[in-house]
Point group: C2
Chain length 346, copies 2
DNA sequence: GACCGATTGTAGAACGTTCCACGTGGGCGT
DNA sequence: ACGCCCACGTGGAACGTTCTACAATCGGTC
């Protein structure tokens, strides 16, 4: 039965209306509505019934204006990043059962992180979960001084006090990718990096380390890229035109890899026939059978769960150990990698 | 200069703190902060300066608890739909300059529309903008009774009072796609439909009408599909296995088309060599050079702009004419369509 | 010098909720 | 009978704003 607002005027029913209707005080009505103890089963039932009748819904704003706890987690995410969409999905799944609401604030081409965070603060979020923040560390530190902040997927060298970090072991991920390619027989493996994007430094380092460890130091080649398809495409152009073209490429992330794939296919360079491509994230994108990208998988549900968990832990005063949670990545082999066709040059 | 909270205790500075600091009443401080008239230039400057010093930011919840206008537009969107992401981007771009905030509520596999809308209502949004809502019309009508509701991209036959509709002329879009394919020489054109997804009925109808108009009634073929890659892939399997395989396919949307593309490519059916594929939406997805999908473009910025505009118009009491805004689609020809290779059978 | 309107400012009551400090009343041990 | 505790319930003060009065000041006009 759809709730017919049984209050005379067009106004939305308030706690006072509910209390009048049920014949109790507003305080008691409040107790019942939020499931606190201090009401008998009989009245509880009566109030609930009245609430149903008049279609009462508590006003979230008034509620959290009064109670100092808002039970609201602010989440900043990149609207166009499939990886972030997946994370948000996981965040909802963990936060709502735990009794926390999520306030989303999107970062787009025209709407910067600064603006996104400002609106979250104005909404009186209790804690901030930032997905792949690009803001300078100083800004994050400043924020962390005001409220608990969890940075997801970005590595911050000096553990900033009050700032929680949840991330994938990016260096290890890059290493897994290189190991896989080397095992297939590749030697000339290039890396399209993410510039100053979150995680980029670690992936670059992991790549370099792994290459050295395989004795391929002289084949190390890092091409500037970025985290969008366009940037990946640009880097691919550079690689395709370069004289000793690599036989394999490790891209910064899946979006970047998609751009790379695109350029190669259009240039008539078969993948993985002539060149292998590896992405990073294992977002929905990579799983599309059409793209079928070999990629370094991040454990997205786990990252999301940890992020929410860390935020709540901090709010509950449970002190957390290191302030950093590192999740292991795992290689997902799909169709964009294969042994090199040409004999490997020393 | 990053605001150093100059208030003794850890609390966030309040309007009273600001007033004290600036040596004025809270009322006056309020006037200055919201840029209302009634303060001299001198005091205005003094208050603003004080605000900067103590890092004061107005509390959004308290503000809108008091003022009956909340200037908050609730937006329900599908987290995994690139088309929705594009719309949200456009909505931000229109709403924020107009002085409206956006509250986002995502619909995911585990979080239904009902839940998404509930949280928006609890946040005391003034109006709802629903992107591609799947809820039954009765539910939408009920909502529209409570507050202005704008439904984007879904056609509702009987203009529900109080419900604004902003949509693309889906039938016309489907017709454009068919016309394009027929002009290329195709006759056996199949349609993978979207079931009960928003817009699906119109696209199906547009497809049928266009086919009849070209005298291709006997070639009409509608295969059940959906709005995800998986559903598109499934439909493509069916088509590929069917005996007289069509030479062209109009998919319900870009995601669906991507799934179709994938199956064909894996089955060794060249696109557009053996079969042409057309999508719908022109989302980011279609534009990826890697996918390069011919698609029926929806004017996303315009849809977004209209949605916000209609919502605000209703809030301002400006009565709106028909309650329905229909935007013309335009075909975007890319690389997945070409003349059929086999001679067309009558 | 009284009156006026405009301008600048203030006090205090909302808004819808939660929290705190109390009233009840009844059961029960002494 | 008395105290005492407990479960249940109430009144009223917050929370941080905005809004509706109304007060003070000032130059200007008759």
């Amino acid at each position: 039965m759809p709730a017919t607002p049984a209050v005379p005027d067009g106004k939305r029913p308030t706690l006072a209306d509910l209390a009048t209707r049920a014949g109790v005080s507003t305080a008691l009505a409040s107790i019942v509505m939020r499931g606190a103890k201090g009401a008998s089963a009989a009245t509880r039932e009566r109030v609930l019934e009245a609430a149903r009748e008049i279609g009462y819904r508590p006003d979230a704003r008034a509620r959290l204006l009064r109670s100092h706890r808002s039970h609201l987690l602010g989440v900043q995410f990149g609207l166009q990043h499939p990886f972030h969409a997946d994370l948000v999905e996981g965040i909802y799944a963990t936060a709502e059962p735990a009794g926390y609401q999520i306030a989303l604030s999107a970062v787009t081409a025209e709407r910067g992180e600064q603006r996104a965070v400002e609106t979250l603060l104005d909404d009186r979020c209790e804690a901030l979960i930032l997905l792949g923040p690009q803001a300078p560390a100083s800004r994050l530190t400043e924020l962390a001084g005001q409220l608990p902040v969890v940075s997801v997927a970005r590595h911050l060298r000096p553990p900033v006090p009050g700032l929680e970090v949840v991330r994938t072991a990016d260096d290890k991920g890059a290493r897994q990718a290189v190991d896989h390619l080397v095992a297939l027989g590749h030697r000339a493996i290039a890396h399209i990096d993410g510039g100053k994007a979150p995680g980029a430094a670690d992936r670059r380092r992991g790549y370099r380390t792994a290459m050295s460890r395989h004795g391929l130091t002289e084949h190390i080649r890092v091409v500037p890229g970025g985290l969008t398809e366009a940037e990946g495409a640009e880097a691919a152009q550079v690689l395709a035109a370069s004289h000793p073209c690599p036989t394999a490429v490790l891209a910064f992330n899946d979006r970047c890899a998609t751009g790379v794939l695109d350029v190669f296919l259009r240039s008539g360079i078969p993948v993985p026939g002539a060149i292998s491509v590896v992405g990073f994230d294992d977002s929905h994108l990579a799983r599309l059978a059409h793209i079928d990208l070999t990629t370094v998988g991040q454990d997205i549900p786990r990252l999301a769960h940890l992020a929410v968990d860390r935020a709540i832990a901090r709010l509950d005063g449970r002190d957390t150990g290191t302030g950093e949670q590192v999740v292991a990545p795992h290689l997902v082999v799909r169709g964009t990698t294969a042994p090199p066709s040409t004999a490997p040059a020393t």
